[in-house]
Symmetry: C2
Subunit: 173 residues, 2 copies
């Protein structure tokens, strides 16, 4: 039954590979997504060298993306006592992962958009011509909506898991 170990390894490799491919779909670089997949399914924290080995990537690449994952808050480094090197482990709780990603995406995608829309709306506030009014109105509506989305994202990302499930259940019911 050592066969099972092999099949597990295969399944894990598959997961890592596909998750990496998916990552590129959503504008996350492949290596970063792969490392995340790897650590999410690791039975124990892994060192930089283990990651390099498992994914066949260079030290520089592994390092950059480990730091990036830390910056996102998706993994953290742990120090095994008596050891000098760093080990990394991923948060495995799906709800935590979700809220972390949601917060980050909000910061990167929603907030800059709000800034642009707000400015464009402000600049055209006083316009009198139909064209000016129409443009302003479009900006205002977009700003309103995106601002709204921003608030919703905050709210959801701040929820505890149980509460979110309850809410969603009601929504879907």
């Amino acid at each position: 039954m050592n066969d099972e170990a092999t099949r597990l390894q295969e399944a894990r490799d598959e997961f890592v590979a596909h998750w990496g491919a998916l990552g590129t779909q959503w504008g996350i670089n492949r290596t970063m997504a792969q490392i995340h997949a790897l650590l999410m399914t690791a039975p124990a924290p892994m060192s930089t060298d283990e990651v390099m080995e498992a994914l066949s990537v260079s030290r520089g690449n592994a390092h950059t993306n480990l730091k990036e994952l830390i910056a996102w808050g998706l993994i953290r480094s742990v120090v095994k006592k008596g050891e000098r090197r760093e080990y990394f482990e991923a948060d495995k709780d799906v709800w935590n992962i979700f809220t972390t990603v949601a917060k980050e995406r909000k910061r990167r995608e929603i907030e800059p958009a709000l800034g642009v829309l707000h400015q464009c709306a402000a600049e055209t506030k006083e316009m009198e011509t139909p064209a000016g009014k129409q443009f302003h109105e479009q900006m205002r509506q977009l700003e309103e909506f995106v601002g709204f989305a921003s608030k919703v994202a905050d709210k959801v990302a701040g929820m505890k898991h149980g509460f979110a499930v309850q809410l969603a259940a009601k929504l879907l019911g």
Copy 2:
């Protein structure tokens, strides 16, 4: 007061430029995002040549991205009667834009992920070792969550604007 026309033009250019930059942040190509911004703020439908002119891009580029926007459902082509060439106009309703984007993103980001997770979970369903069980459990949880997200996305994208506002108001209140 022709000055207002100038300022409006500047504001619009700014919007188009920034929206394009934002687009790249979310994995949408710059030109596509710019064309969308342009058409969202156009007082009337525009032809391919007008788009090329306004953004200083090649015909091929304009054409490709116009088709892509049509494929997403964010713009549509209209034929002015008596004219031979195609004109394009964007849906300007923010809620429509949102649901359209949401549907497309779900299709591109959520559905493929579900497939991968489902397969990895299935492949490890019968495993007996702790490592195998743990991996399976992780896949199962991810699949469950993503499936859930998928349903929520459907539900929200299918809502009428008014209803969504009502719901969100309750959520934020």
